[in-house]
């Protein structure tokens, strides 16, 4: 009875026409803004309103809010958020190390919450806002956490650093007076092969002092 998936999406193929459709952002109540634009492999959405919508497997034009700006890009359902940011939007500050959710190097915020961009699909973002390491500095000024990382020599090879900074910024945005244990808990997912942890902890605690 449920073997109709193939049929339904095959029926949905169109021939390179511009299409518009909507995806709802994960967990959001407002309408999402995936806008289908062009592409040889553009596809059709189901028409019955009660039904869901099928996308891909080919290219889809989407809009995504990144660091305060609406961006248009063409992705596939299998395009990760990390790939969309790095390869489509040239925001290469987000690093991909393990590509499996186990090191947190690729940490970005989606609607203010730290998540792993390597194991989130671009289509999963919907109309929520993405903030990357490039969006942490304000008006050309480094964030206090970034400054403290430089001051305290909290980076060696640097691969873990963008993710580490994101985790620490998130902590300080939610906790004015963090303890050492709070910093450890916030960075528990961030693996650093170079062993910068003690400097990361010091830098974050000193940034917290400065931000008061």
């Amino acid at each position: 009875m449920k073997k109709n998936s193939k049929k339904s999406h095959a029926e949905g193929h169109s021939k390179g026409l511009s299409r518009r459709g909507f995806l709802r952002g994960a967990g959001l109540t407002t309408a999402g803004t995936v806008v289908f634009t062009t592409g040889v492999q553009a596809f059709e959405a189901h028409t019955q309103p009660a039904k869901g919508t099928s996308f891909g497997p080919g290219s889809i034009g989407i809009e995504m809010k990144v660091n305060g700006r609406m961006q248009s890009l063409t992705v596939e359902p299998r395009t990760t958020l990390a790939t969309a940011l790095r390869d489509h939007l040239s925001l290469t500050g987000t690093k991909v190390v393990c590509d499996r959710g186990s090191c947190s190097a690729c940490t970005v915020f989606i609607d203010g919450k730290p998540v792993n961009a390597c194991i989130t699909m671009a289509l999963d973002v919907g109309d929520r806002e993405v903030i990357t390491i490039e969006g942490i500095a304000r008006n050309g000024e480094l964030h206090p956490v970034q400054e403290a990382f430089i001051e305290h020599d909290a980076s060696q090879c640097g691969y873990c650093t963008p993710g580490m900074v994101m985790s620490c910024v998130h902590l300080l945005e939610n906790e004015e007076n963090p303890s050492l244990e709070d910093v450890k808990a916030a960075t528990r997912g961030n693996l650093c092969r170079c062993g910068t942890y003690p400097h990361v902890f010091k830098a974050t605690l000193s940034a917290a002092e400065k931000m008061k």
Partner: protein, 338 residues
């Protein structure tokens, strides 16, 4: 990663109509035509990236309205929607107040980033983390092959593997959250392919490889978890969860224990002890529970309970350390509620 289409499901009925397989079916007998559910996506993407599954369609159930609700009622207990994230459970004041061991288990699972993404249904339906299972180069029994690489006396890298119920595949269930839910005697509510609702005790949700090698839970194609129910602990109940890991940062469990006990004075009236990372499914230590009924929990009785729980342990070549680790962890968890 293979190419796949993405179906954005709007309702449970809609999702059920689209799904024609499960991750487990597709791993065991690949068809390349599978359409499978994805919620947080962490385990699904991991397996697609490793080339263990090549689904034709992903049915995204993450945005279905109503599956993200959590509520507590003293009469009916805690209801956790399938899509509630581990972070939401961790931060729920009701969970902290009434379900200490569940809060502790969730707070120690995965990383802060992953807890923001992981849903409870996806966590319970994730597949084992056995490294042979996760390697496309090792066609093990769970993937339709003819052997368990981990149990090999000569080459098996089995330091993380099962010490109980390990006569078949020796993998562990990956969910450490399940250990706490088992101790609370939670139940899983799911809709079958016809849309009929079923409620099963969590103990019957998990399937041991000795029963069925290709699956780790009872879900068949189209079955959609909607809710996890946790009964209200009766008054005088105390609970505690302990997870042992190899690193100070996050890690998968080497041994985890949840205990939920109803105390009468200093005596134990009713108790459940659940063990994670001991067997291919989360398991209850029934004999140890019996040994504690009407007893005072102290160093001696806690030690005896640990020994009783480990009496049937059969370590493999590299995981003998797990027996003393469980002995101490069981005692530690029990003494916390004494």
């Amino acid at each position: 990663m293979n190419k796949f289409s993405w179906y954005e499901a709007k309702s449970v009925e809609d999702a059920i109509e689209q799904a024609n397989s499960t991750v487990s079916e597709e791993i065991y007998t690949p068809t390349g035509k599978a359409s499978i559910y994805k919620s947080g996506g962490i385990d699904v993407w991991d397996m697609v990236k490793e080339g263990l599954i090549a689904p034709q369609m992903i049915v995204n159930v993450r945005n279905i309205k109503g599956l993200d609700k959590m509520s507590f009622d003293p009469d009916s207990g805690l209801s956790i929607g399938a899509n509630v994230t581990l972070t939401e459970i961790e931060q729920s004041p009701e969970v902290s107040e009434h379900y200490t061991a569940l809060q502790q288990a969730v707070a120690h699972a995965a990383t802060p980033q992953l807890r923001n993404m992981s849903t409870l249904a996806g966590n319970l339906a994730q597949r084992t983390r056995c490294w042979y299972f996760r390697s496309a180069d090792h066609p093990c029994m769970r993937k339709g092959g003819d052997r368990c690489y981990a149990r090999s006396q000569q080459t098996g890298q089995n330091e993380n593997h099962a010490i109980l119920d390990n006569g078949s595949c020796v993998s562990l269930h990956a969910s450490s959250v399940a250990t706490a839910l088992l101790a609370y005697e939670a139940s899983i509510v799911y809709l079958d392919a016809k849309g009929e609702s079923h409620e099963v005790p969590i103990e019957d949700f998990f399937v041991s490889p000795s029963q069925d090698i290709w699956r780790e839970n009872i879900l068949s194609p189209g079955d959609l978890i909607t809710e996890i129910k946790v009964p209200t602990p009766s008054s005088g109940t105390r609970s505690h969860y302990v997870k042992q890991v190899a690193r100070e940062s996050y890690d998968w469990s080497l041994a985890d224990v949840a205990v939920v006990a109803k105390m009468n004075g200093n005596k134990c009236e009713k108790i459940t002890i659940a063990l994670g990372a001991a067997a291919p499914t989360p398991v209850r230590a029934y004999r140890a529970e019996e040994a504690l009924i009407n007893q005072v929990i102290n160093k001696e009785s806690a030690k005896l309970a640990g020994e009783t729980a480990m009496a049937s342990a059969r370590p493999l070549t590299m995981n003998g350390y797990k027996v003393p680790l469980f002995l101490t962890t069981i005692s530690q968890a029990l003494l916390e509620i004494a």
